[in-house]
């Protein structure tokens, strides 16, 4: 671990000003500290964001605003979140452990690096060592993507909350050197085909101030399929819900996790569902169509069926709401 400089930021402006090449923001550090120790991060300077607060959860006219540094456990237990975005609360409750949820922040969760064992385990990996190759292609693929970012990287984004947020049309408020801007979740993560090993498109000095949950969205549910019953990342997960009128789907939202480098909002499946009478078969066909563009690696083929099952859980009008 190399020697680095530590700065506590007293204002957003100060945090942004302190940032530069080789600096990294530090929130609760549940991701940053292990990464320092494992040699995955070599900052010259750590800028501590916790003094900024930015951890409130407030109701606004047009929805809910979650502070970028809000603790995961505070979000999951907040009455407004439980009422209008239970999918998010459930996704958080199924993330990590109680200790991690009590410390970890929302922004930190969205910006966590991939869990790919090659990346984490000092094996050849383009994300860690550009040009060293992606080991997944000839290696262990079980935890890899159905829809890889590019042939440079086949890892999946590990966040559960991000999947729920994608289904809820959340937007991200970012403050940076050029001022304030708003991104969709889809815009936060790199575009398909990218070769960079970065978890997001944010640049040095870009600070996530808040996340906005627009009002009037389907509250939704979250289903996570994992090997362990707890304390495990998803093999596949699904967030979303639907609204029926007279047995016909009039509104649907679906996002899948564990299948790509970003939460996968299923616009195509949603379009297939809306306007048709709900049936389990329709859900199956819609999700299958959504994933028909995938060219799975041999070891990830099973995720298609798994995704269909996870989606069926959240898109079951008879299921618990």
């Amino acid at each position: 671990m190399k020697i680095f400089d530590y700065r506590a930021a007293n204002s957003v402006a100060e945090a942004i000003a302190a940032a530069g090449p080789g600096s990294a923001f530090l929130a609760a550090g549940t991701e940053v500290v292990p990464a320092l120790r494992d040699g995955l991060l070599h900052p010259d300077r750590l800028i501590d964001l916790l003094p900024l607060g930015l951890d409130g959860i407030e109701r606004r006219d047009d929805g809910l605003r979650l502070g970028g540094l809000a603790r995961l456990s505070d979000i999951a237990s907040h009455p407004e979140v439980l009422a209008s975005a239970p999918a998010l609360a459930s996704a958080i409750e199924q993330s990590g452990t109680a200790a991690i949820r009590s410390m970890g922040t929302l922004a930190g969760n969205l910006l966590q690096q991939v869990r790919c064992p090659y990346y984490r385990g000092a094996a050849p990996c383009n994300r860690r060592a550009p040009g060293s190759g992606c080991s997944v292609a000839r290696g262990d693929q079980r935890h890899a993507a159905l829809m890889p970012l590019s042939f440079h990287c086949a890892a999946v984004h590990p966040s559960d909350p991000a999947v729920a947020l994608a289904s809820l049309d959340a937007t991200i408020v970012v403050e940076g050197r050029a001022g304030r801007r708003t991104l969709s979740l889809d815009q936060l993560y790199p575009a398909a085909g990218a070769v960079l090993g970065v978890p997001s498109v944010l640049e040095s000095g870009d600070l996530i101030i808040a996340l906005d949950l627009p009002a009037g969205r389907l509250p939704g549910r979250y289903a996570k399929i994992r090997d362990r019953s707890s304390f495990d990342f998803a093999l596949v997960s699904a967030a979303g819900g639907l609204r029926l009128e007279g047995g016909v789907v009039v509104e649907a939202a679906l996002a899948l996790g564990g299948i790509a480098w970003k939460p996968w909002r299923c616009r195509r499946a949603e379009a297939m569902l809306v306007g048709r009478p709900w049936s389990a078969d329709l859900v199956r066909q819609a999700v299958a169509a959504e994933l028909s563009g995938a060219t799975p690696l041999e070891g990830t083929r099973f995720k298609v069926e798994l995704a269909i099952r996870a989606a069926a859980t959240v898109l079951d009008p008879g299921g618990p709401s």
């Binding site: 671990m1 190399k2 040699g39 869990r115 064992p117 090659y118 984490r120 385990g121 000092a122 094996a123 050849p124 080991s135 000839r138 290696g139 262990d140 079980r142 935890h143 289903a223 399929i225 994992r226 090997d227 362990r228 019953s229 707890s230 304390f231 495990d232 093999l235 099973f302 069926e305 798994l306 099952r309 996870a310 069926a312 859980t313």
Partner: protein
Amino acid sequence: MTIGAPLPRQDAAVKVTGAAQYVGDLEVPGALEGVFVVSAVAAGRIRSIDRADALTVPGVVSIFGPGQLGVTGPIEHWAAGQASMPMTDAEIRYEGQPVALVLATTGIAAREAAARLVVTIDPLPHQSSFAASLDLGIEIKDWAPTSTAVGSVADGLAAAEVTITARYRTADRHHVALEPSAVVARWVDGGIDLWTSTQWVFGVRAAMAQMFSLPPDKVRVRSGYVGGGFGAKGSTWPHEFLAVAASRAVAAPVRIVLPRSQTFTLHGYQPATVQELTLGARNDGTLTAIRHESWNAASVADDYVEHGSLGSRTMYACPNIETRDRIVRLNRPQPTFMRAPHEGPGMVGLEIAMDELADRLDMDPVELRIRNYARHDPTSGKPFSSKALDQCYRLGAERFGWARRSPVPAAWGPGGVRIGMGMASALMSTFRFGASARVTLERDGSTLVETGAHEIGTGVRTILPQIAADALGLPIERVRVSLGDTTLPEAGGTFGSATTLSVGSAVRIAAVKLKERLETLAGEPGLEPREYAEVLALHRLERVSEEGTWAPTREEGAYAMNAYGAVFVEVAVAPHDPVPRVTRCVGAFSVGRIINPRTARSQVIGGMIWGLGQALLEDSRLDPALGRFVAKGFGSYQIPVNADVPAVDAIFADEFDPHASPIGARGVGEIGTIGVGAAVANAVFNATGVRVRDLPIRVESLLQP
């Protein structure tokens, strides 16, 4: 009577409060911290090591490369984990092999310098895929025969009305003890003073004496508390030898605490097995033939046989049994014993095959096993020392509610969730070692038990005082215990589930001798414990001490000795989330006399949970292209968490084994892990109709629409 009492763990408080000292905790003035740099490739030759950048790190003292530690390899010794000795030549035999050792005044400096060391290796082609190399399997000479035959399987199959043939697989699995292996080596006065987290101080002493050409009395080895071993700390491994060599080279104490990632390549793992089983039976279930062939992945660093077919030689009455165990030498780290070796993986094949047979015969799986109950060892012909497995089948089935099981797969499904029940037999050969112990009574009535055995979390610190307290008629609070030091009376390693029966017998002999000595001093038999102090005072003695030694006798070799069990498991498989979840688990065990029902229960339920890991999670996947284990930490190597562990219940048959040990006990430690894997697979079949023959059972196998 203290024996048979459910006394709590005597070391519980120091462990949960953090007061217990492990090797990594020792304050060692002047110690240098060592960090290995390991090979990233599975085969090759070291071309060069560039130290320039690493040496600029403040605090770095020395950097050793191959051939610079003054040791030569290989080491051929029964207590060494592998013959091949890294850092004695430029050859890379497996991924993760140490290629350099950095010593620095702090661990941080050593790690930083290790990260900056530039080791250039010319890679060579390697063969590390086990699945692709079965045809390279060979039989070697080992401590147990690798092949056996009684009768003729061909004849047995000709007489069979039903036959089952299938292949079963178990995965590579790592021990992942919570305490990573740690060693503090001090070369002093031409001898060795060593602290190491080992399960066998005397084994380390013997191996060190040979390696460094010293008489054993110039080598002292201590272990302190050991934070789990499970077999990984049962042998002496290269990092221990190399720490000693480094201390000699720099004339300072050297501490090496392996980083978690290196515990995946430096002290063994349970190798993957492939097992081919053929069973022949008559329509009434009587077995006419058993053929069990097993292959395990092994290393070019040394040979290791996972005797996968061992249990099939003994388990069922059958006139025709043939078994064979082969190894496949590959460019992988050296495997070793892991909690419930041999039968642990091996019974997976046999017991799933028995379930398949029961299904084909339309017979209850327990009934099939009772039909073929062995009353003597079918391969050796020897009588069993004691065996209450029939009781286990009955007690376990009752406790579990086996009678409620539907024999038809997928028959029930409340709420769409499929519930299945499965069972399996368990068997593990009993290991017994010679052992000695000293029991000392002080004038103040306190008593000390001393023996070079080890506390690795199994309850030895409770059991041994309990046995002494029982013999002397004292409360256990009056008995202290001193373990894990080669200056104490010699005992075997704490593995093979042998410590209670072996060391416990030695403690009992010593304590009984002590009591007799006191009675002689008093001149009267039937001395009361409260009179001990008086006797000592009368003779102006501060203390009296006796040693006891116990060893298995030749006559007892006329018996076949095993621990047995019957495991019952219930699983639930939900349609939308078909990852199998175990909802109940009951084990009934025949292990001889129970010295302490609380610690015994704790051992077997811990074992059953360990078995759940084998059944559903533990899977060290080796990347055949890179020749390396993919997971090197708890983030990717998964073991069960609390939420995966259902109600686990254990019961013991009422038993006293007169031949296994004078205290009537056999081994308890490992039997609990055996059988669970097969029982879960059998329950999954009962729930879903899907026959899974590979462990761990993955959701992938249960995904057909």
